[in-house]
């Protein structure tokens, strides 16, 4: 039997990050889903929608603000996570945060590290800006 490789590769980092950031997503989603009045679901059922269609056409769209803000939170946390990719990805499976760490503290190449940090910052800020515009466009106000 071949042992499953879970260290220093994608699988390990993926499982670790999902495990760590799942609560963030769940907490944001619980808030969003509990704020949807149960009455709208009942209304959909009364008007003849099946359970699945009431969910996909009423509940899921109404929880879109929560999905959006939870996704932004988890995405930003993931691409800036340092410790988990460092421990589970090791020196071979590098991501941007570990690369920046190495650049600053091991290669002492501060200019390159600064450039990488700024690129990461710009990417995150762009994403947050675009998503807030998306939220405003759809009138959900995440």
């Amino acid at each position: 039997m071949v042992p499953v490789k879970l260290l220093f590769n994608f699988a390990g980092v993926f499982i670790g990050l999902t495990h760590i950031f799942l609560p963030f997503m769940v907490l944001v989603l619980i808030g969003a889903i509990q704020n949807i009045p149960r009455d709208v679901e009942d209304a959909a059922r009364v008007l003849g929608a099946s359970w699945g269609s009431a969910f996909f056409r009423v509940t899921l769209p109404l929880s879109a603000p929560g999905i959006l803000s939870g996704s932004i939170l988890v995405f930003v946390l993931t691409i800036s996570a340092l410790v988990t990719p460092r421990l589970l990805g090791g020196p071979t499976y590098q991501v941007m945060s570990t690369l920046i760490y190495d650049e600053f503290l091991q290669r002492l190449n501060w200019p390159a590290g600064s450039a990488q940090s700024l690129l990461l910052t710009v990417m995150v800020l762009t994403l947050v800006y675009l998503s807030s515009r998306l939220a405003r466009r759809t009138g959900t106000g995440a």
Partner: protein, 269 residues
């Protein structure tokens, strides 16, 4: 424009064609610009040709009518094109759209306000505008010290050349950025980071949504899903309604009114 006397206030509407008579009103001077309001319930619809007992008596055409049980909602157009909304009692015979009628109202129902919208003597605007920014100052200060300052310090550093075994030297170079977007080593890491972000976001969403939804899905729905995924028999439906009422009643008794309607949160949008 107001002209006020001991017994009445006469307001000439913009355009000069019509004037409205209101009750006596102190605190106004002749020629002062004012606004005039009449509650829509106070306007009476009279038959064409009926003799006017009131000084406020205008010919009008109905341009909109909707019956709403306790009231008829009308929009009537005056001779000068002005439109008025009217709520007539629902017991009165309806007037069709396009029919000509007369509007009348008592001078006592005319509300006259100075044109700036404030009742006389209300004083100056007590709300101060444009000072809310100071409430943001602590947060902005923290943002500045903890984020903008350190990130800003990296901007000049990122354009300095780096010589191995020597260190950061003077001068200007965009080499680091160019390397970042052309070198396949860096591109792979950037792509990997973004991909990892997307995949982790997707997996937390897929795993997290059912978890977050679980407190909401009532046991009844789950049981129905398990029993009959295709649909519900009428019997099960009525039984479901019964159980739900029972659940609501229990929640009410337990003293959580929010559980009755707004999904436990007690907060309706």
């Amino acid at each position: 424009m107001a002209e006020t006397g001991a017994t009445a206030t006469v307001v000439t509407l913009d355009g000069g064609g019509l004037s409205v008579v209101g009750g006596p009103r102190s605190g106004l001077v002749r020629g002062q610009p004012v606004s005039v309001a009449i509650r829509q319930e106070s306007i009476r619809l009279e038959r064409p040709g009926a003799e006017a007992a009131d000084p406020n008596h205008f010919a009008a055409t109905i341009v909109f009518h909707a019956f709403a049980g306790q009231a008829h909602h009308y929009v009537a157009q005056l001779a000068d094109g002005r439109e008025l909304e009217i709520a007539a009692p629902g017991t009165t015979p309806p007037l069709a759209r396009g029919s000509r009628t007369h509007l009348a109202w008592s001078p006592d129902d005319v509300i006259v306000l100075p044109a700036d919208g404030c009742p006389p003597g209300a004083g100056e605007d007590t709300v101060r505008h444009g000072h809310g920014w100071w409430l943001l100052a602590p947060a902005l200060l923290l943002l500045f010290i903890a984020f903008i300052l350190p990130v800003g310090t990296m901007v000049p550093t990122s354009f300095r050349p780096y010589v191995p075994l020597v260190g950061i030297t003077g001068g200007f170079t965009a080499r680091h950025y160019i390397k970042l977007v052309t070198d396949s080593y860096y591109l792979e890491i950037i792509g990997r980071t973004l991909g990892l972000g997307l995949i982790v976001t997707g997996s937390t969403l897929v795993i997290g949504y059912p978890v977050a939804f679980l407190p909401r899905a009532d046991p009844l729905t789950l049981a129905k899903l398990a029993d009959d995924p295709g649909g519900l028999s009428p019997h099960a439906e009525s039984r479901g309604a019964h159980l739900r009422l029972d659940r609501l009643a229990r929640a009410e008794r337990a003293g959580e009114p929010g559980a009755a309607g707004a999904g436990g949160g007690g907060w309706c949008r």
